[in-house]
């Protein structure tokens, strides 16, 4: 799976060019750090902010963790019910389809009224963002279990919904659940900044970026936090892929690759 070094080097070239262009344009063309801070200034900011940064990352991960845990534990049981029982799907799907298009940020007022200004309110916004992708991919997995596998289970004594879900449908749907979770993590992460903007605490990447750095016009700090937000999401995604998809779904190789 390892790319040859030469190709790896090749894919680094455009990245370096972009960074160089950034530095040159910011430093010699625009020359206004309020509009575009220089790349070197941003890197230096990350170094200056390192202590704050750790606290903010931990706070954001806490919000993210609350949201993802809620989303996963609510979406999975509902996905099983919707994917496995046709009538549940018929009954619940219209409700889901009405709520789903509402942007997570529109839930902020309700989050404040219902939960208050605390970590759980931020978690709630992330929950709204992550819930639907997990739900939809997961119930699709349960709905698509091939009939022949269910019947094979039947003739081998695996009879009744509980056994069939446990031994046939759940293992079959696991890759879809993982995909949904991965997409959900992505959407959930996008909600982190907004979820911290409305004053649920006094730390967090989104809080710092918007409430502190932006109001003080410290654009190099803002961009530094943007980069951190991106890199962190990339790391989370890679970790998930490494520990869940590559380890758990060796059996899928023949199908997807």
């Amino acid at each position: 799976m390892r790319l040859p070094t030469k190709e790896e080097g090749l894919s680094l070239v455009p990245l370096i060019i972009v960074l160089l262009l950034w530095e040159i344009i910011a430093g010699y063309v625009i020359r206004d750090p309020l509009i575009v801070p220089r790349f070197s200034a941003v890197i230096f900011s990350i170094y200056t902010l390192r202590e704050l940064l750790i606290i903010d990352i931990l706070t954001s991960l806490l919000h993210f963790g609350i949201g993802m845990t809620l989303a996963f534990s609510a979406a999975l049981p509902l996905a099983i019910a919707m994917g496995w029982f046709r009538n549940v799907f018929r009954a619940v799907d219209p409700i889901i389809e009405i709520i789903r298009p509402i942007p997570p940020l529109a839930w902020i007022p309700l989050a404040i009224v219902w939960i208050g200004l605390n970590h759980y309110a931020a978690g709630f916004i992330i929950f709204i963002g992550a819930f639907f992708p997990i739900l939809i991919d997961s119930y699709t997995g349960f709905r698509d279990v091939p009939k022949v596998l269910v019947e094979t289970g039947n003739v081998l004594g695996c009879i009744g919904n509980i056994k069939l879900i446990r031994y046939v449908a759940l293992p079959y749907a696991l890759p879809s659940i993982a995909t949904g979770t991965r997409v959900g993590m992505g959407v959930g992460w996008m909600c982190v900044v907004a979820a911290e903007m409305f004053g649920v605490g006094n730390s967090g990447l989104g809080y710092r970026l918007f409430q502190k750095f932006y109001f003080l016009h410290q654009m190099d700090y803002v961009v530094a936090y943007m980069l951190i937000l991106g890199l962190l999401a990339l790391c989370l995604d890679r970790l998930f892929r490494h520990f869940v998809e590559d380890k758990l779904f060796r059996w899928k190789k023949g199908i997807v690759k």
């Binding site: 019947e151 094979t152 003739v155 695996c158 059996w251």
Partner: protein
């Protein structure tokens, strides 16, 4: 009791766009213990439906199916089934596929692993126990499916065109292996196929069905001693008769 399985006046109707379609009409059949019975017929004659009803995956509209004196009323591991399409659980290794029925029954890990290994050897796949289905060829997959169906020690083995999607050479090999397994396990086998050649090579007795409504139009003992030669005169003669039976019904 001189029969293992008995079908008594079995009829199956399907409702389709306000028309009632008779898929099977008045099927009466007795299968002896240890018998290797093949069912042949044109597509749409309901042979698969018949097998599915014996497995308990479908229900007759009227009539009854009796196995070892008990009326069949749903699926159960005492009727092993091998499907035409590949039916291995892709997330389970070969051994874990074979263990499935035993695991559901609640058997201990070590015990069921031993049994699974025995049946793995039965179908000649030692060394593939830890492979996943995607790593196997079509023929190997069906071998595993056979081992899995046998592992729960069913009273009867139902096979629905199990070799329909493998190439001709593999098919011949699998047929020989199946006869070997049949000799060793002394199972009663019901084997559905649309291949007259396959039926004549494998069966003690061949049941010929007609299409719409599905009826049994003939039962023919093969009577050629085993090992059989696929190209022998006797085999050719029986093949010809069976083909005629099928053909005459086709041209109507």
């Amino acid at each position: 009791m001189n029969h293992k399985l008995k079908l008594h006046n079995v009829t199956k109707e399907f409702q389709s766009e306000e028309v009632e379609i008779k898929a099977l009409e008045d099927i009466n059949l007795e299968v002896k213990p240890n018998e290797f019975l093949c069912i042949i017929g044109p597509s749409g004659c309901g042979k698969t439906t018949l097998l599915r009803m014996i497995a308990g995956l479908d229900y007759p509209s009227s009539g009854e199916i009796i196995l070892d004196g008990d009326r069949v009323s749903g699926p159960s591991p005492d009727r092993g089934m091998v499907f035409q399409e590949f039916s291995l659980f892709p997330w389970r290794t070969v051994l874990k596929n074979i263990e499935f029925g035993l695991q559901i029954r609640g058997m201990k890990d070590k015990e069921r692993r031993e049994i699974a290994e025995k049946y793995l050897e039965f179908v000649g796949l030692q060394g593939f126990g830890n492979s996943y289905p995607y790593e196997l060829s079509g023929g190997m997959k069906q071998r595993v499916a056979i081992a899995r169906a046998l592992a729960t020690d069913p009273a009867i083995l139902l096979m629905d065109e199990p070799f329909g999607s493998v190439d001709a050479q593999t098919r011949n090999v699998l047929q020989e292996e199946l006869l070997e397994i049949w000799k060793r396990t002394k199972k009663t086998i019901l084997f559905v196929t649309h291949s007259v050649d396959e039926a004549v090579y494998l069966a003690d007795r061949v049941v010929v069905m007609s299409a719409r409504p599905g009826r049994i139009i003939a039962c023919r003992d093969i009577g050629i001693p085993r090992p059989r030669k696929r190209t022998s005169m006797e085999a050719n003669e029986i093949r010809e008769q069976l083909l005629m039976l099928l053909g005459s019904k086709h041209q109507k």
